[in-house]
């Protein structure tokens, strides 16, 4: 059955950053350069081709874009400057929008103004909320203690509520992702067993990003890994050990050791990435979608204010510390409520999932092929 091509899709993808895909004339350099492609996975050219021809269904159910970490080698080798790396990046954005049932991420990716507006709005609301909450029951002069302005206990509760919201959206989108990429596949059925045997891959990919390590270029992997680990560490600290962090006066190094390390990790890597994007120092930094900037700036603000409020608090300037804290939260809230489920950050969930799915699929299809073999032999005989 012939698949209907949609010449218009390529225009739609432009908004997501795929500016040069039309230039590709399919020499195959990119696939042959990429360490991930091999055997039947022709990568990234196949995705490029599907995009050129607008094979929406294929792209929609495909995992390829997630399997790329954007080391940039393909783009460097491309004889026509068709930017395969950036195209994969754009496809990831597009897929994120497709997975998201609310339509928010579609909106964000297509209009940075909307995204910015939403972030500012949520930030202001959060700010106002926390100020109101603080003044209603505490004093701005106290960072912690009995009448702390923002007592960690309450913030902790709030964090969990926020996390609940976040998980709800992210999980529902992940479910949609599963349905598109695995669930609705009629030709291949995936038994629970198949999923279970490979389940260990999920955390493995998540924490080690071992696949990225396979790229010939190591630096992007290191930066990405440090950033991700610091981020996760920080998340864990906030979700589980918040009270040990805020409470003073003595420093509880069991947590703060991690806290500081993570903070430094975040600030340094974010700064590095921003510098890179400003100077276009590396291939993967050549093209920056607005959402990339939004992500970095927000991250920098959050990390920065996080450190700041800690320093101020420890140096006894509680008022300033509280102000910094409020600003910090004004960053945290939109970050967790908007960025993580609907924008760039969602990839921390999609990518490991995709790799996990890909491996499950590989297993099942391999098994299928094996099963088919004797039959095939019989036919030829």
């Amino acid at each position: 059955m012939a698949i209907r091509a949609n010449p218009k899709l390529i225009d739609e993808l432009e908004a997501y950053g795929a500016q040069d895909v039309a230039k590709c004339y399919h020499c195959g350099n990119c696939s042959a350069t990429c360490p991930f492609s091999g055997g039947d996975t022709v990568f990234p050219r196949r995705a490029m081709r599907q995009l050129q021809m607008g094979l929406e269904a294929k792209l929609d159910s495909g995992l390829d874009p997630w399997l790329c970490y954007y080391c940039g080698e393909c783009s460097d080798e491309c004889p026509r400057d068709a930017e395969p790396g950036e195209t994969m990046m754009s496809l990831r954005r597009w897929l994120t929008a497709r997975y998201d049932w609310t339509g928010i991420s579609r909106l964000f990716y297509r209009s940075w103004k909307a995204e910015l507006a939403a972030i500012v709005l949520v930030a202001l609301l959060a700010g106002a909320g926390f100020l109101a909450f603080g003044f209603s029951r505490g004093s701005i002069d106290h960072y912690d203690g009995a009448n702390a302005f923002l007592p960690s206990a309450s913030i902790h509760v709030f964090d969990w509520i926020l996390a609940g919201v976040l998980v709800f959206f992210l999980a529902s989108n992940c479910a949609r992702m599963w349905w598109k990429t695995m669930g609705k596949d009629k030709d291949t059925r995936f038994a629970i067993g198949a999923y279970l045997t490979r389940i260990y891959l999920l955390p493995l990919h998540f924490f080690t990003q071992m696949r990225f390590a396979k790229c010939d270029r190591k630096r992007p992997w290191v930066v990405h890994l440090v950033l991700m680990l610091s981020y996760v560490t920080m998340l864990v600290l906030i979700m589980f050990f918040l009270k040990y962090m805020a409470s003073g006066p003595q420093v509880d190094w069991r947590v703060h050791a991690f806290g500081l390390a993570a903070a430094i990790g975040l600030v340094v890597t974010t700064a590095w990435a921003m510098r890179g994007r400003m100077l276009r120092s590396e291939t993967q930094y050549q093209h920056s979608h607005e959402s990339d900037w939004m992500f970095l700036i927000l991250l920098l603000i959050v990390a920065g204010t996080g450190v700041l409020q800690f320093v101020l608090h420890r140096s006894g300037a509680d008022v300033a510390a509280n102000v910094a804290y409020v600003v910090h939260l004004m960053g945290v809230v939109p970050m967790l409520a908007l960025e993580v489920p609907f924008s760039k950050w969602s990839h921390l969930a999609y990518r490991p999932l995709a790799m996990y799915f890909a491996d499950v699929r590989a297993d099942v299809e391999a098994a299928k092929a094996k099963a088919a073999e004797p039959l095939g032999a019989a036919q030829t005989a």
Binding site: Y25, H26, C27, G28, N29, C30, S31, A32, T33, S37, G38, G39, D40, T41, V42, R45, R46, E77, C78, P79, R80, D81
Partner: protein
């Protein structure tokens, strides 16, 4: 076609640039200003680079201004024409009255840019084709002709002209004529041996009464004007008397120096005193001053060859001499060099011994090559002189490759190397595949290609035949050559099978692209000729593919753009037409660059007058 006879046409001039090429060559602003003062021009708009044109808006404007003729002016205005044609048609005008003023087409390059552009625009506004107006005056022509380059193009042009009993000076940089074609084994698609086709022509040149063959010589300087050029030629010291030498090899046998042979593209060695190849014309030895011990030591060492020569025709102290030639026409046939494969690391040329360039393989497979045409892999051997191991071709020791891969478009069709297509590689790659299959029937042969450009007479059929012979044509130019435990591996994508292929390979041939030969720029400077992508620019892409901006200077063969042998030969003969024509009437055209804007305006005007007198002509021209 209909022209405005008498009555004026309300004309609009729209300046649109595509932004390709050199934007600073023409001051668009200046041209716009000039356009305003041209007759009948009512509207002048500078729409800038790659404007987003709105047809509806244009239509309205055409209506409002009631324009009957629209002139699009720019570097390549044709790219916007359909938009304007549609708009003018919608506005109820005559779509034929959309005219182009193409700055690029008529050579508005740096320096003369703006003035030229104005002239082109003036003609377009008057509805006069620029070449019809911009006809330079004629000047007396000296009957002798200089041809630079002794490849097949130079040889063909020389013979065409000399066969009309007109004096030709053929200047060749190397020790023999024949150029690259002489190195080839077979020629596609007929597979007749290059030597069989070329050697008779070379012999004819060598014997011709009207051809003064100056081999091992270079152009030093060109002065004078079209029709009367004075050319300084440096006759490099050959150090062997061409007339006396009988090519007896005696000198070569005693020469202690061994260097890699240019003619064999480095896969074989020659001595410091050598003959490029057995059928060389002139069939005489020469001494390579770069490597000759005697020359390098200022006569202190060696010099045995001179003593050994039975005819005593070697003079190792011979000095270069400068000769001056008076010529009327100059034909450039300087040909090409090949792209430097080491610039593309991923193919491992220079790293892996059995990655060869096309020219190296031509010599390897050639009956007169180092292995007598036997296709073998390089084998390692200890070089006593260099005291080091080296990889060499050895007909006896060398293993026959079990598999050969040919990689297309090496250095061509690539933004990082040469953006252009080198035109000949697809076909010679197919030829290689045939030669491999013919000599090693059991060897696997792969072609990694992007587009199989088999466009000439009998080429498509040739391509089919090669596929039928069992060569695997893999759609997808490969990306990587590497080594895994001692075995060379190739990795590429087979798009039709939709899979990555990675397999061991014994020999890899790089279908290397063509680049302008060394010294092309210098020559262009000397003659103040424009070039594009390094190749000499022809006067008019379509209607004048062999003449140039400079009167009396024409281009033949690959130095104008990559070409295969049939096209080169045809073009070389075409050049002769221009030359013979000018000699026949004793006058030739001056340089177009010498025409002032005023001249062009005047000539364009007179063309219009002539046309109005003779409007009967219109029915003879297409409508």
């Amino acid at each position: 076609m209909t022209y405005a006879v008498g009555g004026s046409m309300r004309t609009g001039v729209y300046l649109c640039q595509t932004g390709t090429g050199d934007l600073d060559a023409v001051s668009v602003h200046g041209v716009a200003g000039y356009a305003g003062n041209l007759p009948d021009v009512e509207v002048v708009r500078d729409l800038g680079v790659l404007p987003k044109l709105d047809i509806a808006h244009l239509t309205l404007e055409f209506r409002r201004e009631d324009l009957q003729r629209v002139v699009i002016a720019g570097d390549s205005p044709g790219f916007f024409k359909p938009t304007f044609t549609r708009a003018l048609a919608l506005a109820g005008g005559d779509p034929k009255e959309v005219r182009l003023a193409s700055f690029r087409a008529f050579g508005a390059s740096r320096g003369i840019g703006t003035a030229r552009a104005k002239g082109v625009l003036a003609c377009a506004v008057l509805g006069v084709p620029y070449p019809l107006a911009a006809v330079p005056d004629t000047t007396p022509v000296h009957p002798a002709t200089l041809i630079v380059g002794g490849g097949v193009a130079g040889i063909q042009a020389a013979l065409e002209i000399a066969d009309a009993d007109k004096q030709v000076y053929l200047v060749e940089r190397t020790g023999t004529i024949g150029g690259h074609m002489a190195m080839f084994d077979k020629t596609f698609p007929t597979l007749d041996c290059a030597a069989c086709i070329l050697t008779p022509k070379m012999v004819a040149v060598g014997q011709h009464d009207f051809i003064d063959l100056m081999s091992y010589a270079e152009i030093e300087d060109v002065s004078g004007r079209p029709g009367a050029y004075t050319v300084k030629v440096r006759k490099k010291a050959r150090r062997v008397d061409v007339e006396a030498c009988v090519a007896c090899h005696a000198c070569m046998e005693v020469c202690p120096v061994h260097v890699s042979s240019e003619f064999d593209n480095g896969i074989a060695e020659r001595n410091a005193v050598y003959m490029p190849f057995p059928q060389a014309v002139p069939n005489a030895y020469l001494v390579d001053e770069q490597t000759c011990t005697y020359v390098l030591s200022d006569g202190k060492k060696c010099g045995v060859c001179a003593k050994k020569c039975p005819k005593e025709c070697i003079d190792l102290d011979q000095k270069d001499e400068i000769v001056e030639l008076e010529v009327g026409n100059i034909v450039l046939a300087t040909g090409y060099d090949v792209y430097d494969a080491t610039k593309i690391e991923r193919y491992g040329y220079g790293t892996y011994p059995n990655v060869l360039t096309a020219l190296e393989f031509e010599r390897l497979t050639n009956a007169s090559g180092p292995t007598g045409g036997k296709i073998v892999c390089k084998s390692s051997r200890f070089n006593k002189r260099k005291k080091a191991d080296e990889w060499v071709f050895d007909a006896d020791e060398g293993q026959a490759p079990r598999s050969v891969a040919i990689i297309h478009c090496v250095g061509s069709r690539d933004a990082r190397h040469n953006a252009y297509c080198s035109r000949v590689c697809c076909m010679y790659s197919l030829k290689f595949a045939h030669l491999v299959k013919e000599k090693l029937p059991d060897a696997d042969c792969y072609e990694f290609y992007i587009d199989m450009r088999a466009f000439g007479k009998g080429y498509e059929e040739f391509a089919d035949r090669i596929k039928a012979e069992g060569t695997f044509c893999v759609r997808g130019r490969t990306a990587k050559v590497f080594e895994s435990d001692g075995q060379m591996m190739i990795r590429g994508e087979d798009m039709v099978k939709e899979k990555l292929v990675e397999f061991p390979i014994d020999m890899i041939l790089l279908a290397i692209g063509l680049i302008p030969s060394r010294g092309t720029d210098a020559l262009a400077q000397m003659l103040s000729l424009p070039t594009d992508e390094g190749w000499f620019s022809e006067l008019d892409y379509n209607s004048d593919p062999t003449d140039t901006e400079r009167g009396g200077v024409s281009v033949a063969g690959v130095c104008q753009a990559p070409k295969d042998i049939p096209d080169t030969v045809a073009q070389a003969s075409a050049v002769a037409a221009g030359v013979l024509k000018s000699i026949a009437i004793g006058r030739g055209l001056d340089s177009r660059a010498d025409l002032s804007l005023a001249d062009i305006e005047a000539r364009a005007a007179s063309v219009v007058e002539a046309r109005e007198e003779a409007s009967w002509r219109s029915e003879r021209t297409p409508s």
